[in-house]
Protein backbone atom coordinates (compact mmCIF):
# COMPACT_ATOMS: atom_id res chain seq x y z
CA UNK A 1 0.00 0.00 0.00
CA UNK A 2 1.11 3.50 -0.80
CA UNK A 3 0.20 6.47 1.33
CA UNK A 4 -0.04 9.86 -0.33
CA UNK A 5 -1.63 13.18 0.59
CA UNK A 6 -4.33 14.67 -1.59
CA UNK A 7 -5.52 18.16 -0.66
CA UNK A 8 -4.22 17.60 2.87
CA UNK A 9 -5.95 14.25 3.36
CA UNK A 10 -3.90 11.08 3.68
CA UNK A 11 -5.03 8.19 1.59
CA UNK A 12 -3.66 4.66 1.17
CA UNK A 13 -3.99 3.08 -2.21
CA UNK A 14 -2.64 -0.02 -3.84
CA UNK A 15 0.53 0.04 -5.88
CA UNK A 16 -0.15 0.89 -9.49
CA UNK A 17 -3.06 3.20 -8.74
CA UNK A 18 -2.99 6.53 -10.53
CA UNK A 19 -3.34 9.88 -8.78
CA UNK A 20 -6.66 10.37 -10.57
CA UNK A 21 -8.08 7.12 -9.19
CA UNK A 22 -6.86 7.98 -5.69
CA UNK A 23 -8.47 11.42 -5.88
CA UNK A 24 -11.72 9.98 -7.16
CA UNK A 25 -11.62 7.44 -4.32
CA UNK A 26 -11.54 10.34 -1.88
CA UNK A 27 -14.29 12.09 -3.79
CA UNK A 28 -12.32 15.04 -5.15
CA UNK A 29 -13.73 15.92 -8.52
CA UNK A 30 -11.20 16.03 -11.34
CA UNK A 31 -12.65 16.69 -14.77
CA UNK A 32 -11.53 14.29 -17.51
CA UNK A 33 -12.05 14.08 -21.22
CA UNK A 34 -9.74 11.56 -22.84
CA UNK A 35 -9.89 9.32 -19.79
CA UNK A 36 -12.33 6.46 -19.90
CA UNK A 37 -12.75 3.50 -17.66
CA UNK A 38 -11.71 0.34 -19.39
CA UNK A 39 -9.23 2.10 -21.64
CA UNK A 40 -5.56 2.64 -20.86
CA UNK A 41 -4.72 6.14 -19.58
CA UNK A 42 -3.48 8.30 -22.40
CA UNK A 43 -2.95 11.83 -21.05
CA UNK A 44 -3.96 13.56 -24.25
CA UNK A 45 -6.40 16.23 -23.10
CA UNK A 46 -4.47 17.35 -19.97
CA UNK A 47 -7.76 18.34 -18.37
CA UNK A 48 -7.10 16.17 -15.32
CA UNK A 49 -4.07 18.31 -14.49
CA UNK A 50 -3.04 18.42 -10.79
CA UNK A 51 -0.19 20.01 -8.90
CA UNK A 52 2.34 17.75 -7.17
CA UNK A 53 5.19 18.61 -4.82
CA UNK A 54 5.63 21.71 -2.75
CA UNK A 55 7.22 25.13 -3.00
CA UNK A 56 9.24 26.03 -6.07
CA UNK A 57 9.54 22.34 -7.03
CA UNK A 58 5.81 21.99 -7.50
CA UNK A 59 4.76 21.00 -10.99
CA UNK A 60 1.68 20.26 -13.01
CA UNK A 61 1.12 16.69 -14.17
CA UNK A 62 -1.77 14.83 -15.72
CA UNK A 63 -3.26 12.80 -12.90
CA UNK A 64 -4.64 10.06 -15.16
CA UNK A 65 -1.13 8.93 -16.10
CA UNK A 66 0.76 9.76 -12.91
CA UNK A 67 1.20 6.77 -10.60
CA UNK A 68 0.69 7.24 -6.88
CA UNK A 69 4.00 7.54 -5.03
CA UNK A 70 4.64 7.24 -1.28
CA UNK A 71 4.54 10.64 0.39
CA UNK A 72 3.32 12.44 -2.75
CA UNK A 73 1.61 15.76 -2.02
CA UNK A 74 -1.16 16.45 -4.49
CA UNK A 75 -3.40 19.47 -4.88
CA UNK A 76 -6.32 18.98 -7.21
CA UNK A 77 -7.80 22.46 -7.19
CA UNK A 78 -5.05 24.98 -6.44
CA UNK A 79 -5.08 28.37 -8.13
CA UNK A 80 -2.39 27.23 -10.56
CA UNK A 81 -4.31 24.07 -11.42
CA UNK A 82 -7.55 25.96 -12.00
CA UNK A 83 -5.87 28.49 -14.26
CA UNK A 84 -4.23 25.78 -16.31
CA UNK A 85 -7.45 23.82 -16.54
CA UNK A 86 -9.44 26.84 -17.68
CA UNK A 87 -6.87 27.57 -20.34
CA UNK A 88 -7.04 23.98 -21.59
CA UNK A 89 -10.81 24.19 -21.72
CA UNK A 90 -10.69 27.45 -23.63
CA UNK A 91 -8.36 25.89 -26.16
CA UNK A 92 -10.58 22.84 -26.49
CA UNK A 93 -13.55 25.11 -26.93
CA UNK A 94 -11.70 26.99 -29.62
CA UNK A 95 -11.00 23.86 -31.62
CA UNK A 96 -14.26 22.02 -31.12
CA UNK A 97 -17.05 24.32 -29.90
CA UNK A 98 -19.94 22.12 -31.00
CA UNK A 99 -19.09 19.29 -28.61
CA UNK A 100 -21.68 18.90 -25.91
CA UNK A 101 -19.17 17.31 -23.57
CA UNK A 102 -16.72 20.20 -23.87
CA UNK A 103 -19.52 22.75 -23.55
CA UNK A 104 -20.70 21.09 -20.33
CA UNK A 105 -17.18 21.08 -18.90
CA UNK A 106 -16.69 24.71 -19.88
CA UNK A 107 -19.88 25.88 -18.26
CA UNK A 108 -19.01 23.89 -15.15
CA UNK A 109 -15.80 25.91 -14.98
CA UNK A 110 -17.64 29.15 -15.65
CA UNK A 111 -16.08 29.71 -19.03
CA UNK A 112 -18.47 31.62 -21.21
CA UNK A 113 -16.16 32.73 -23.97
CA UNK A 114 -12.77 31.96 -25.35
CA UNK A 115 -10.19 34.26 -26.85
CA UNK A 116 -8.57 32.14 -29.55
CA UNK A 117 -9.16 31.86 -33.25
CA UNK A 118 -12.30 29.83 -33.64
CA UNK A 119 -12.02 26.52 -35.45
CA UNK A 120 -14.74 24.04 -36.07
CA UNK A 121 -12.81 20.81 -36.20
CA UNK A 122 -14.70 17.66 -35.39
CA UNK A 123 -11.85 15.96 -33.58
CA UNK A 124 -9.76 16.88 -30.56
CA UNK A 125 -7.39 13.91 -31.03
CA UNK A 126 -8.16 12.55 -27.57
CA UNK A 127 -7.60 9.03 -28.87
CA UNK A 128 -10.63 7.54 -27.14
CA UNK A 129 -11.87 5.93 -30.35
CA UNK A 130 -8.41 4.59 -31.19
CA UNK A 131 -8.09 2.93 -27.81
CA UNK A 132 -11.70 1.70 -27.89
CA UNK A 133 -11.09 0.06 -31.25
CA UNK A 134 -7.86 -1.57 -30.16
CA UNK A 135 -8.47 -2.47 -26.55
CA UNK A 136 -12.17 -3.19 -26.31
CA UNK A 137 -13.11 -4.16 -29.84
CA UNK A 138 -9.81 -5.91 -30.62
CA UNK A 139 -9.90 -4.52 -34.13
CA UNK A 140 -7.25 -1.81 -34.51
CA UNK A 141 -9.03 -0.53 -37.58
CA UNK A 142 -8.33 3.13 -36.91
CA UNK A 143 -5.26 4.92 -35.66
CA UNK A 144 -3.40 8.19 -35.62
CA UNK A 145 -1.92 9.38 -38.89
CA UNK A 146 0.54 12.11 -39.70
CA UNK A 147 1.96 14.48 -37.14
CA UNK A 148 1.82 18.05 -35.96
CA UNK A 149 -1.11 20.05 -37.24
CA UNK A 150 -1.75 17.41 -39.89
CA UNK A 151 -2.39 14.71 -37.30
CA UNK A 152 -5.67 12.94 -37.81
CA UNK A 153 -7.51 9.79 -36.91
CA UNK A 154 -8.72 7.35 -39.49
CA UNK A 155 -8.11 4.14 -41.35
CA UNK A 156 -4.92 3.52 -43.34
CA UNK A 157 -5.13 5.01 -46.85
CA UNK A 158 -8.62 6.37 -46.00
CA UNK A 159 -10.26 3.26 -47.33
CA UNK A 160 -12.65 1.07 -45.33
CA UNK A 161 -10.59 -1.20 -43.16
CA UNK A 162 -10.76 -4.96 -43.54
CA UNK A 163 -10.67 -5.44 -39.79
CA UNK A 164 -13.48 -2.96 -39.07
CA UNK A 165 -16.71 -4.68 -38.06
CA UNK A 166 -18.64 -1.42 -38.10
CA UNK A 167 -19.40 -1.90 -34.44
CA UNK A 168 -19.80 1.82 -33.92
CA UNK A 169 -17.74 1.79 -30.73
CA UNK A 170 -15.55 4.63 -31.96
CA UNK A 171 -18.51 6.92 -32.51
CA UNK A 172 -20.04 5.88 -29.22
CA UNK A 173 -17.04 6.99 -27.14
CA UNK A 174 -16.31 10.15 -29.10
CA UNK A 175 -16.61 13.23 -26.90
CA UNK A 176 -16.66 15.60 -29.85
CA UNK A 177 -19.46 14.03 -31.85
CA UNK A 178 -21.50 12.50 -29.02
CA UNK A 179 -24.63 14.31 -30.16
CA UNK A 180 -25.12 12.04 -33.11
CA UNK A 181 -24.54 8.74 -31.40
CA UNK A 182 -27.09 8.43 -28.65
CA UNK A 183 -28.40 5.11 -29.87
CA UNK A 184 -29.44 3.98 -26.48
CA UNK A 185 -31.32 7.19 -25.77
CA UNK A 186 -32.78 8.17 -29.11
CA UNK A 187 -35.15 10.67 -27.51
CA UNK A 188 -32.12 12.79 -26.56
CA UNK A 189 -30.65 12.82 -30.02
CA UNK A 190 -30.89 16.29 -31.50
CA UNK A 191 -29.07 16.42 -34.80
CA UNK A 192 -30.48 13.26 -36.30
CA UNK A 193 -27.24 12.58 -38.08
CA UNK A 194 -27.45 8.94 -37.13
CA UNK A 195 -30.78 8.40 -38.84
CA UNK A 196 -28.93 7.42 -41.97
CA UNK A 197 -26.80 4.85 -40.22
CA UNK A 198 -28.30 1.44 -39.79
CA UNK A 199 -27.59 0.03 -36.34
CA UNK A 200 -24.35 -1.95 -36.64
CA UNK A 201 -25.68 -5.11 -35.06
CA UNK A 202 -28.19 -5.54 -37.87
CA UNK A 203 -25.21 -6.72 -39.89
CA UNK A 204 -24.29 -9.19 -37.20
CA UNK A 205 -24.72 -12.12 -39.57
CA UNK A 206 -21.80 -10.96 -41.69
CA UNK A 207 -19.35 -11.33 -38.81
CA UNK A 208 -18.35 -14.50 -36.97
CA UNK A 209 -17.65 -12.94 -33.63
CA UNK A 210 -19.12 -9.51 -33.28
CA UNK A 211 -18.55 -7.81 -29.99
CA UNK A 212 -20.86 -4.93 -29.26
CA UNK A 213 -20.40 -1.90 -27.05
CA UNK A 214 -24.12 -1.70 -26.40
CA UNK A 215 -25.54 -3.64 -23.52
CA UNK A 216 -28.47 -4.06 -23.48
CA UNK A 217 -28.65 -3.74 -27.22
CA UNK A 218 -31.71 -2.11 -28.68
CA UNK A 219 -31.17 -3.37 -32.17
CA UNK A 220 -30.66 -6.96 -31.08
CA UNK A 221 -33.83 -6.84 -29.00
CA UNK A 222 -35.78 -5.60 -32.01
CA UNK A 223 -34.31 -8.30 -34.19
CA UNK A 224 -35.18 -11.13 -31.81
CA UNK A 225 -37.83 -13.38 -33.25
Amino acid sequence: MITLTINGLDVSVEKGTTVLEAAQFLGFPIPTLCHMEGLTPYGACRLCVVEIGEGPGAKLVSSCTYPAEPGLKVRTASLRVMRARKMILELLLASCPQSKEIQDLASKHEITQQRFRQEYSDCILCGRCVRMCEEQMMAKAIGFRGRGEKRSIGTPFDVPSEVCRQCGGCIYVCPACSLRCTYTQPEKAICGGCANLSPPCLQKDSFDDMMCYMDPCVACEIKKP
Partner: protein, 282 residues
Protein backbone atom coordinates in the same frame (compact mmCIF):
# COMPACT_ATOMS: atom_id res chain seq x y z
CA UNK B 1 6.19 -5.50 -58.95
CA UNK B 2 8.09 -8.51 -57.70
CA UNK B 3 5.83 -10.36 -55.30
CA UNK B 4 8.67 -11.76 -53.27
CA UNK B 5 10.55 -8.59 -52.54
CA UNK B 6 8.61 -7.41 -49.49
CA UNK B 7 8.59 -10.87 -47.92
CA UNK B 8 12.31 -11.21 -48.58
CA UNK B 9 13.02 -7.86 -46.97
CA UNK B 10 10.95 -8.77 -43.92
CA UNK B 11 12.72 -12.12 -43.65
CA UNK B 12 16.09 -10.37 -43.80
CA UNK B 13 15.05 -8.39 -40.75
CA UNK B 14 14.16 -11.60 -38.92
CA UNK B 15 10.46 -10.92 -39.18
CA UNK B 16 10.43 -8.88 -36.00
CA UNK B 17 8.80 -5.50 -35.65
CA UNK B 18 11.80 -4.04 -33.86
CA UNK B 19 13.04 -3.27 -37.33
CA UNK B 20 9.91 -1.58 -38.66
CA UNK B 21 11.83 1.51 -39.69
CA UNK B 22 14.61 -0.48 -41.37
CA UNK B 23 12.05 -2.64 -43.18
CA UNK B 24 10.23 0.47 -44.41
CA UNK B 25 13.51 2.07 -45.47
CA UNK B 26 14.46 -1.05 -47.38
CA UNK B 27 11.08 -1.22 -49.12
CA UNK B 28 11.30 2.45 -50.01
CA UNK B 29 14.77 2.07 -51.52
CA UNK B 30 13.43 -0.91 -53.49
CA UNK B 31 10.44 0.86 -55.05
CA UNK B 32 11.40 4.50 -54.63
CA UNK B 33 8.32 4.99 -52.49
CA UNK B 34 6.01 2.94 -50.31
CA UNK B 35 3.25 1.37 -52.41
CA UNK B 36 0.01 0.54 -50.59
CA UNK B 37 0.24 -3.03 -51.73
CA UNK B 38 3.75 -3.39 -50.29
CA UNK B 39 2.61 -2.04 -46.92
CA UNK B 40 -0.30 -4.49 -46.84
CA UNK B 41 2.06 -7.37 -47.61
CA UNK B 42 4.47 -6.10 -44.98
CA UNK B 43 1.64 -6.08 -42.42
CA UNK B 44 0.80 -9.65 -43.32
CA UNK B 45 4.43 -10.76 -43.18
CA UNK B 46 5.24 -9.09 -39.85
CA UNK B 47 1.87 -9.79 -38.25
CA UNK B 48 1.63 -6.15 -37.27
CA UNK B 49 -1.51 -4.12 -37.91
CA UNK B 50 -1.58 -1.94 -40.99
CA UNK B 51 -2.82 0.92 -38.81
CA UNK B 52 0.43 0.96 -36.82
CA UNK B 53 2.58 0.77 -39.93
CA UNK B 54 0.60 3.54 -41.58
CA UNK B 55 0.97 5.70 -38.45
CA UNK B 56 4.76 5.36 -38.63
CA UNK B 57 4.89 5.95 -42.38
CA UNK B 58 2.84 9.14 -42.18
CA UNK B 59 4.79 10.37 -39.14
CA UNK B 60 8.21 10.41 -40.75
CA UNK B 61 8.90 12.79 -43.57
CA UNK B 62 11.50 10.44 -45.00
CA UNK B 63 8.78 8.06 -46.16
CA UNK B 64 6.67 8.77 -49.20
CA UNK B 65 3.39 7.12 -50.14
CA UNK B 66 3.44 8.71 -53.56
CA UNK B 67 5.81 7.74 -56.37
CA UNK B 68 8.82 10.01 -56.48
CA UNK B 69 10.78 11.32 -59.41
CA UNK B 70 14.21 10.19 -60.48
CA UNK B 71 15.84 13.21 -58.85
CA UNK B 72 14.95 14.52 -55.42
CA UNK B 73 15.39 18.25 -54.91
CA UNK B 74 15.34 19.36 -51.28
CA UNK B 75 15.29 23.07 -50.61
CA UNK B 76 16.12 24.03 -47.04
CA UNK B 77 13.71 26.49 -45.46
CA UNK B 78 15.27 26.41 -42.00
CA UNK B 79 15.66 29.64 -40.08
CA UNK B 80 19.18 30.44 -41.29
CA UNK B 81 18.39 29.61 -44.91
CA UNK B 82 15.08 31.45 -44.61
CA UNK B 83 16.68 34.75 -43.64
CA UNK B 84 19.20 34.32 -46.43
CA UNK B 85 16.44 34.17 -48.98
CA UNK B 86 15.58 30.47 -49.26
CA UNK B 87 11.87 31.16 -49.92
CA UNK B 88 12.88 32.91 -53.15
CA UNK B 89 14.98 29.90 -54.14
CA UNK B 90 12.06 27.58 -53.40
CA UNK B 91 9.77 29.82 -55.47
CA UNK B 92 12.24 29.67 -58.33
CA UNK B 93 12.30 25.88 -58.24
CA UNK B 94 8.50 25.80 -58.07
CA UNK B 95 8.34 28.12 -61.07
CA UNK B 96 10.92 26.32 -63.18
CA UNK B 97 9.65 22.82 -62.45
CA UNK B 98 6.01 23.85 -62.56
CA UNK B 99 5.14 21.83 -59.47
CA UNK B 100 4.39 22.64 -55.87
CA UNK B 101 6.49 21.46 -52.96
CA UNK B 102 5.98 17.75 -52.32
CA UNK B 103 4.95 17.06 -55.90
CA UNK B 104 6.59 15.22 -58.78
CA UNK B 105 6.89 16.48 -62.33
CA UNK B 106 4.63 14.65 -64.84
CA UNK B 107 7.70 13.20 -66.59
CA UNK B 108 8.77 11.63 -63.27
CA UNK B 109 12.12 13.39 -63.42
CA UNK B 110 12.03 15.68 -60.40
CA UNK B 111 10.44 15.60 -56.97
CA UNK B 112 10.56 18.88 -55.11
CA UNK B 113 10.42 19.05 -51.36
CA UNK B 114 11.16 21.64 -48.74
CA UNK B 115 12.94 20.62 -45.58
CA UNK B 116 13.24 22.50 -42.34
CA UNK B 117 16.93 22.25 -41.63
CA UNK B 118 19.82 20.31 -43.09
CA UNK B 119 22.20 21.24 -40.31
CA UNK B 120 24.51 23.18 -42.61
CA UNK B 121 23.20 26.63 -41.76
CA UNK B 122 26.48 28.43 -42.53
CA UNK B 123 26.16 27.35 -46.17
CA UNK B 124 22.63 28.65 -46.61
CA UNK B 125 20.57 28.94 -48.66
CA UNK B 126 21.27 25.30 -49.26
CA UNK B 127 19.77 22.93 -51.82
CA UNK B 128 20.37 19.18 -51.96
CA UNK B 129 19.85 17.38 -55.24
CA UNK B 130 20.31 13.61 -55.22
CA UNK B 131 22.55 13.86 -52.17
CA UNK B 132 24.72 16.58 -53.69
CA UNK B 133 24.86 19.79 -51.68
CA UNK B 134 24.70 23.16 -53.38
CA UNK B 135 25.57 25.97 -50.98
CA UNK B 136 24.91 29.70 -51.08
CA UNK B 137 22.46 29.13 -53.89
CA UNK B 138 21.28 32.22 -55.74
CA UNK B 139 18.18 32.50 -57.85
CA UNK B 140 20.10 32.55 -61.13
CA UNK B 141 21.83 29.24 -60.25
CA UNK B 142 18.58 27.29 -60.10
CA UNK B 143 18.40 26.69 -63.84
CA UNK B 144 22.03 25.53 -63.87
CA UNK B 145 21.42 23.09 -61.00
CA UNK B 146 18.42 21.58 -62.77
CA UNK B 147 20.30 21.39 -66.07
CA UNK B 148 23.28 19.69 -64.48
CA UNK B 149 21.01 17.20 -62.73
CA UNK B 150 19.19 16.44 -65.97
CA UNK B 151 22.44 15.86 -67.83
CA UNK B 152 23.65 13.51 -65.16
CA UNK B 153 25.87 13.99 -62.21
CA UNK B 154 28.70 11.92 -63.69
CA UNK B 155 29.64 14.68 -66.08
CA UNK B 156 32.83 16.50 -65.11
CA UNK B 157 31.99 19.22 -62.65
CA UNK B 158 34.70 21.55 -63.88
CA UNK B 159 33.03 23.93 -66.28
CA UNK B 160 35.95 26.29 -66.79
CA UNK B 161 37.73 25.17 -69.94
CA UNK B 162 41.08 26.53 -70.98
CA UNK B 163 43.98 25.14 -73.00
CA UNK B 164 47.19 24.15 -71.26
CA UNK B 165 50.68 24.10 -72.65
CA UNK B 166 52.80 21.36 -71.09
CA UNK B 167 56.37 20.17 -71.27
CA UNK B 168 58.26 17.06 -70.33
CA UNK B 169 59.61 17.39 -66.77
CA UNK B 170 62.80 15.56 -67.76
CA UNK B 171 63.97 17.00 -71.08
CA UNK B 172 61.86 20.17 -70.79
CA UNK B 173 60.78 19.97 -74.38
CA UNK B 174 57.24 20.96 -75.31
CA UNK B 175 54.79 18.09 -75.61
CA UNK B 176 52.32 20.14 -77.64
CA UNK B 177 51.44 18.81 -81.08
CA UNK B 178 49.73 21.33 -83.35
CA UNK B 179 49.45 18.71 -86.13
CA UNK B 180 46.89 16.71 -84.18
CA UNK B 181 44.41 19.21 -82.76
CA UNK B 182 41.73 17.94 -80.37
CA UNK B 183 38.91 20.27 -79.27
CA UNK B 184 40.36 22.76 -81.79
CA UNK B 185 43.52 23.26 -79.75
CA UNK B 186 46.94 21.57 -80.10
CA UNK B 187 46.94 18.20 -78.37
CA UNK B 188 49.43 16.78 -75.89
CA UNK B 189 51.49 14.05 -77.56
CA UNK B 190 52.74 11.18 -75.39
CA UNK B 191 53.98 7.68 -75.98
CA UNK B 192 51.65 5.12 -74.50
CA UNK B 193 52.99 1.64 -73.80
CA UNK B 194 50.86 -1.29 -72.83
CA UNK B 195 51.63 -4.98 -73.00
CA UNK B 196 54.87 -4.43 -74.97
CA UNK B 197 53.12 -2.26 -77.54
CA UNK B 198 54.02 1.43 -77.88
CA UNK B 199 52.03 4.02 -79.82
CA UNK B 200 51.47 7.76 -79.80
CA UNK B 201 48.63 9.03 -77.62
CA UNK B 202 47.10 12.44 -78.17
CA UNK B 203 45.34 14.02 -75.17
CA UNK B 204 43.18 17.09 -75.35
CA UNK B 205 45.07 19.99 -73.82
CA UNK B 206 41.78 21.64 -72.90
CA UNK B 207 41.47 21.50 -69.13
CA UNK B 208 38.14 19.87 -68.32
CA UNK B 209 38.03 17.84 -71.52
CA UNK B 210 38.74 14.12 -71.29
CA UNK B 211 39.08 13.45 -75.02
CA UNK B 212 42.05 11.48 -76.28
CA UNK B 213 43.02 9.76 -79.53
CA UNK B 214 45.22 6.72 -80.16
CA UNK B 215 45.49 4.28 -83.03
CA UNK B 216 45.07 0.96 -81.26
CA UNK B 217 42.76 1.17 -78.28
CA UNK B 218 43.88 -0.79 -75.24
CA UNK B 219 41.30 -2.66 -73.16
CA UNK B 220 39.27 -0.30 -70.92
CA UNK B 221 40.76 0.37 -67.51
CA UNK B 222 44.16 -1.06 -68.39
CA UNK B 223 47.05 0.74 -66.71
CA UNK B 224 49.51 2.06 -69.30
CA UNK B 225 52.97 3.59 -69.19
CA UNK B 226 53.03 7.17 -70.43
CA UNK B 227 56.40 8.41 -71.62
CA UNK B 228 57.85 11.51 -73.24
CA UNK B 229 58.09 11.00 -77.03
CA UNK B 230 61.21 13.16 -77.13
CA UNK B 231 63.47 11.73 -74.40
CA UNK B 232 61.56 8.49 -73.88
CA UNK B 233 61.54 8.84 -70.08
CA UNK B 234 58.59 7.53 -68.08
CA UNK B 235 56.47 10.45 -66.90
CA UNK B 236 55.17 8.63 -63.83
CA UNK B 237 55.04 10.92 -60.84
CA UNK B 238 54.82 10.23 -57.13
CA UNK B 239 51.09 10.72 -56.69
CA UNK B 240 48.16 8.41 -57.15
CA UNK B 241 44.85 9.02 -58.89
CA UNK B 242 42.07 10.06 -56.52
CA UNK B 243 39.49 8.31 -58.72
CA UNK B 244 41.04 4.87 -59.22
CA UNK B 245 44.32 4.75 -57.28
CA UNK B 246 46.58 4.17 -60.28
CA UNK B 247 49.86 6.04 -60.78
CA UNK B 248 49.62 9.43 -62.42
CA UNK B 249 51.82 10.81 -65.16
CA UNK B 250 53.29 14.23 -64.45
CA UNK B 251 53.82 17.02 -66.93
CA UNK B 252 55.15 20.50 -66.30
CA UNK B 253 53.40 23.74 -67.06
CA UNK B 254 55.16 27.11 -66.91
CA UNK B 255 56.28 28.43 -63.55
CA UNK B 256 56.51 24.95 -62.05
CA UNK B 257 52.82 24.11 -62.06
CA UNK B 258 52.09 20.50 -62.93
CA UNK B 259 49.38 18.59 -64.71
CA UNK B 260 48.74 15.08 -63.47
CA UNK B 261 46.99 12.58 -65.72
CA UNK B 262 45.89 9.13 -64.60
CA UNK B 263 47.71 6.33 -66.43
CA UNK B 264 44.57 4.18 -66.49
CA UNK B 265 42.78 4.28 -69.83
CA UNK B 266 39.30 5.71 -69.57
CA UNK B 267 39.82 7.10 -66.07
CA UNK B 268 38.69 10.69 -65.57
CA UNK B 269 41.45 11.34 -63.03
CA UNK B 270 43.19 14.60 -63.86
CA UNK B 271 44.67 17.11 -61.51
CA UNK B 272 46.04 20.53 -62.07
CA UNK B 273 48.58 21.42 -59.41
CA UNK B 274 49.26 25.14 -59.49
CA UNK B 275 51.64 25.23 -56.55
CA UNK B 276 55.14 26.30 -57.48
CA UNK B 277 57.92 24.13 -56.15
CA UNK B 278 61.39 25.72 -56.24
CA UNK B 279 62.99 22.67 -57.86
CA UNK B 280 60.71 22.88 -60.87
CA UNK B 281 60.52 26.63 -61.18
CA UNK B 282 62.20 28.01 -64.24
Amino acid sequence: MDDRTVETIVAEHHGSLGGMLSILTAIQSEYGYLPEDALRRMAAATGESLTDIYAVVTFYKAFSLKPRGKHLVSVCLGTACHVRGAPKIAEEFIGQLGIASGETTPDKEFTLETVNCLGACALGPIVVVDGRYYSNVRKNQVAEILKRTREGLDQPRENRRFPLSVRCPHCRQSLMDAAHPIDNVPSIRLTMSWDGDSQPLYLSSLHGSLRSVCERETPAHSITVLACPMCGQDLVGDSRCSECGADMARMTIDKGATLMVCTRRGCAGRRLNLETTPAEAD
